[in-house]
């Protein structure tokens, strides 16, 4: 029943899930981490980040709770659920398959 995801959305979902796979993070932290890990190649647009987070939360892939941040402010921390972890494994596999396929096509030309 998951909504049809275009590549971009699917990619962002995957990145978020991956970022959360080790620890719970708030939205700000997620955007920093993606930027950092991608060596500034991927700039996360906040305009898509928060809708994506809320959608993932609704789908039950991540859950959220309020906690205090590094600077002692109230922040919403997201973490992977069991379903989210499964989804991450699946999506990662899909992504690898897809990128290999794309790479093959490109190489074949």
């Amino acid at each position: 029943m998951a909504p049809k995801s275009d590549l971009l959305q699917g990619t962002l979902d995957l990145l978020i899930l991956r970022t959360l796979s080790n620890e719970a993070m708030h939205g700000w932290g997620i955007s920093l981490r993606i930027q950092e890990l991608s060596k500034d190649v991927l700039q996360v647009n906040q305009g898509s980040l928060y809708p994506a987070l809320h959608r993932l939360e609704q789908q039950g892939l991540i859950s959220a709770e309020w906690g205090s941040s590094e600077n002692n402010r109230q922040a919403k921390f997201y973490q992977l659920t069991r379903d989210g972890r499964k989804q991450l494994a699946e999506e990662t596999k899909n992504w690898e398959r897809l990128s290999t396929a794309v790479a093959r096509v490109l190489a074949g030309l």
Binding site: W28, Q46, P51, H54, R55, G60, A75
Partner: protein, 896 residues
């Protein structure tokens, strides 16, 4: 999983908190961006600007996030509905029972609400109908003690500044002549600008203009839509035709559109100048010539009614101060009542009582369906447990169950709407007896929204009871053989108790009103109603020229009616003939007069006590069988020339001649100044549900009466007699219309019809409640028997007799019923006490007094209703109990 579900539920119910959290979350992000920028060396201001630029519009992001919340919600809802439909299709019998039960409850409520809506809630279908008011004035409560208005007083109230267009209305009966048969028409006599003030335009021709109302203007008529359809086959060429009416020709100038007529339905309208009574100079000059109802429109710029009220208070105070002799010295007040409220006075409390009663039925329906759902839940234990084990959270399951309930509720609501739509015509006929607004009753958008709202609410209530009552414990439920938990059994029992107590209260209401109806029906009115035929005969106003002096006219009219009476008496088969202005049990009211005894002048500043004034021919009392207690009845020699005489009833005798013989004493009034009391008649009930009041009777020959009623005792069959009366009337006077032929027994029955309808409705609701409750009890006991099959098997295997098992099951049911009855008794006592003020409202204006001659705490009714409930409950328990008792122990044990 649980967490995300709660998000979805909160997104429905706790939107506000969600919004606040989103705001905090986004603000945090922006603040962090700002800090980062400052760390990079930007100035605080620039840092914030830059952060906002990078972040984008906060509102846009919020909108996107909100979209996620919503779409997800609908997605899950669609899923739930599909699943719910599938699950209901697997169990059509259950679905059918629930939907039908629901439909009955919703149908009852929708039907009554459509009346409430059409009659009480909807704005008047006139231009700015909420600005229309009815004026009243009188002593104390001006609405109850309304004096009505004289033409002079109409002019006075026109001075009220916040009112525009103060117009008059009064109802007369006139004969329309010049067609094949003379017709007696109910006529609305109105101001020329009456239709303009109400905002009504003619369908054909025109309404009245100021020139029509000038003294001596040619008389004109506007026909009502209904009369035009009925009597002229909707022929537009009737405009311009001339008919004879009263003492002059009347030209039809217009036809009204099909709008509701206020304050009552009439056949034709005429301007006040055309009405021979209203246009008489003596009446216009007489400040006491009060015969008019006053309507007014509050000026559009006057926002509140209290301003208009203050203005007419001022007028009332002024006229009271200027004309001291014409008004009570103290407590004289005026009131401006919204036309909307005025038209439904007397019906409002009845309607709310009926709506409350229907609401009770719905509560019982709720409890009953909740019980069925609970039982079904237990049967679905496995399915639910499996789903829970597969990861469905409690909230998710609850939501699924609620969705199923809502599907059932909406289906029941639609069916209920159909039921109420079918009963609409009956309801209009019912409401017609109470208010001129009856024809505005329809199933409109408001009613549809009401039905939808109530259906959904009902579904949520009966759906959430089982959803919350059950703990979804995976492990024990999955284990084989575990059946319904203790907690759900308790809820089921509580629901049965609630149903029984609510049904009991409803049945008590039905019982008390039914008992009142029987009391009223059984009332001995004090006269005979068998073999009496009644009808009206109305002399044309110009039968005897107005140029004659008053006394001459009275003499001629007396002679006219005496001759008519003799003709009636001459019909073979006729035994007795009694004539008068009206007769008992008839909707036509008596005249009223102040009673002042000779030599006992009133203290200054007080008004003479008002009593009924009735007119009678010499044989009137004999025909009705109303006994003469003292003195004599009227005789043919009580003619116009003879001394004026009067007969009083026992109540008047007791009230005005305590410890005194009234015979021979005199009252002031009458053409010669005094009326001598010649007789005392027994009290009779003029209305079956009202105690007799003080009455005076005057002789028909000594009173100028245009409209008469006749009561004839004959051996003829009704239709034959009617034909004979019509022939006699025609022979007597070509222009004498006779109408309203009914036997007195029919009149008696007609008068009780509104009460009968109300009692029937409440009774139907009570019956509905009883049936639903009985089905509920049977269902719950059957279910419990089902659950305990093994237990019964063991009991019987160990030697318990079948009768023992039977008694065990029935006892279980009866315990619940008894608790329900106890609670219901308390509830009924409180309810009748609370409603007492409404039900026992003694003012005639309040319409029907539902409880007459009945105590609210009526032991017989309480015991009777309790007995009926217990018998029905016993029956409901018996069938499942017998099944329990017929369990074969071996089979039951093997099933284990």
């Amino acid at each position: 999983m649980f967490r995300n579900l709660s998000v979805r539920l909160t997104s429905l119910f706790r939107r506000e908190r969600l919004e606040r959290e989103l705001d905090t979350e986004l603000r945090y992000h922006i603040d962090m961006l700002v800090q980062q920028n400052i760390a990079k060396g930007m100035a605080p201001d620039a840092a914030r600007r830059e952060a906002h630029r990078v972040f984008g519009t906060v509102d846009g992001i919020k909108d996107d996030v909100r979209d996620r919340w919503l779409s997800r919600f609908f997605e899950v809802a669609a899923q739930d509905i599909r699943y719910g439909l599938r699950s209901l299709r697997r169990n059509p019998g259950f679905a059918l029972v629930v939907i039908v039960t629901m439909a009955l409850g919703i149908g009852a409520n929708t039907a009554i609400f459509s009346v409430v809506n059409g009659v009480l809630l909807r704005p008047l279908p006139y231009k700015d109908g909420d600005k229309l008011v009815v004026l009243h004035h009188g002593q104390g409560d001006p609405v109850v003690n309304d004096l009505f208005f004289s033409p002079k007083e109409m002019d006075d109230y026109r001075q009220a500044r916040s009112l525009s267009g103060v117009v008059e209305f009064h109802n007369m009966f006139f004969n329309l002549l010049g067609r094949e048969e003379p017709e007696r028409l109910s006529t609305g006599v109105v101001s020329a600008n009456y239709f303009d003030v109400l905002g009504v335009q003619a369908l054909h021709g025109r309404t009245f203009v100021a020139a029509d109302d000038a003294a001596g203007a040619p008389a004109v008529l506007v026909l009502s839509y209904k009369y035009w359809r009925r009597s002229f086959d909707a022929d537009p060429s009737v405009v311009g035709r001339v008919f004879r009416m009263n003492d002059k020709p009347h030209t039809v100038v217009g036809v009204m559109p099909p709008v509701p007529q206020y304050p009552l339905e009439v056949d034709v309208y005429m301007p006040s100048s055309a009405c021979p009574f209203r246009s008489a100079p003596t009446l216009i000059a007489n400040r006491r010539g009060r015969m008019l109802t006053a309507f007014a429109r509050v000026r559009p710029e006057v926002a509140s009614l209290s301003k208009a009220q203050a203005d007419i208070d001022l007028v009332a105070a002024q006229i009271q101060a200027s004309y001291k002799d014409f008004y009570p010295a103290t407590g004289f007040k005026a009131a401006a009542v919204p036309l909307k409220d005025d038209l439904t006075r007397g019906f409002t409390s009845t309607l709310w009582i009926l709506l409350g009663t229907a609401g009770f039925v719905l509560l019982i329906v709720c409890a009953s369906i909740a019980n069925l759902l609970l039982a079904r839940m237990v049967r679905r234990e496995r399915e639910i447990s499996v789903r829970a084990a597969l990861g469905a959270t409690r909230a998710r399951l609850m939501r699924q169950l609620l969705t199923e309930s809502l599907i059932l509720a909406v289906a029941g609501g639609v069916l209920g709407l159909a039921i109420s739509a079918l009963s609409l015509q009956l309801l209009v006929a019912f409401a017609e007896r109470f208010t001129a607004r009856a024809h505005e009753i329809s199933i409109d958008m408001t009613v549809l929204m009401f039905t939808l709202g109530v259906s959904v609410l009902t579904g949520l209530v009966f759906g959430s009871i089982p959803a919350f009552a059950r703990r979804v414990d995976v492990a024990p439920a999955l284990r084989e053989g575990t059946r319904g938990t203790q907690s759900s059994q308790r809820v089921r029992s509580a629901l049965i108790v609630a149903q029984v107590s609510a049904s009991f209260m409803l049945l008590i209401a039905a019982g008390l009103t039914l008992k009142s109806l029987m009391t009223v029906q059984g009332v001995n009115p004090g006269f005979k109603t068998e073999n009496l035929l009644t009808f009206r005969a109305d002399m044309s106003f110009d039968k005897f020229p107005l140029t004659l002096s008053g006394p001459e006219r009275v003499a001629k009219m007396g002679g006219y009616w005496t001759e008519f009476e003799q003709r009636l008496r001459a019909i073979p088969g006729v035994i007795d003939v009694g004539g008068g202005g009206t007769f008992p049990l008839n909707e036509l009211g008596p005249f009223a007069t102040g009673l002042v005894r000779e030599g006992r002048p009133l203290p200054p500043g007080t008004q003479a006590p008002r009593v009924s004034l009735r007119v009678a021919t010499p044989d009137y009392f004999k025909t009705l069988g109303q006994p003469l207690v003292a003195g004599r009845a009227f005789t043919p020699s009580d003619s116009f020339e003879a001394p004026t005489v009067v007969i009083v009833n026992q109540t008047a005798a007791k009230q005005f001649w305590p410890n005194e013989d009234p015979i021979g004493t005199r009252l002031t009034g009458g053409p010669t100044g005094f009326r001598t009391v010649v007789g005392v008649v027994a009290d009779v009930r003029q209305q079956l549900d009202r105690e007799p009041a003080a009455e005076l009777y005057v002789a028909m020959q000594q009173f100028n009466l245009l409209g008469t009623t006749w009561v004839v005792h004959s051996r003829l069959p009704a239709d034959e007699a009617t034909r004979a009366f019509k022939n006699v009337a025609r022979a007597h006077d070509q222009d004498l219309p006779v109408s309203s032929f009914r036997t007195l027994a029919e009149v008696r029955s007609d008068g009780l019809a509104p009460r009968r309808v109300i009692v029937t409705l409440i009774g139907l609701f009570g019956l509905l409640a009883l049936v639903i409750t009985a089905a509920g009890i049977a269902g719950v006991i059957a279910f419990s028997v089902n659950q305990r099959t093994q237990e019964f098997g063991v009991r019987m295997a160990l030697g318990a007799p079948r009768s023992g098992v039977l008694a065990l099951v029935i006892r279980e049911g009866l315990v619940l019923v008894t608790i329900g009855l106890a609670i219901g008794t308390g509830g009924a006592l409180v309810l009748t006490k609370l409603l007492g003020a409404v039900i026992f409202d003694p003012t005639p204006a309040a319409g029907i007094v539902l409880l007459v001659g009945t105590q609210a705490i009526d032991t017989i009714t309480y015991v009777g209703v309790a007995f009926v409930l217990i018998v029905v409950a016993l029956f409901a328990c018996f069938m499942p109990a017998r099944r329990a008792a017929s369990v074969d122990p071996m089979v039951a044990l093997r099933a284990q």
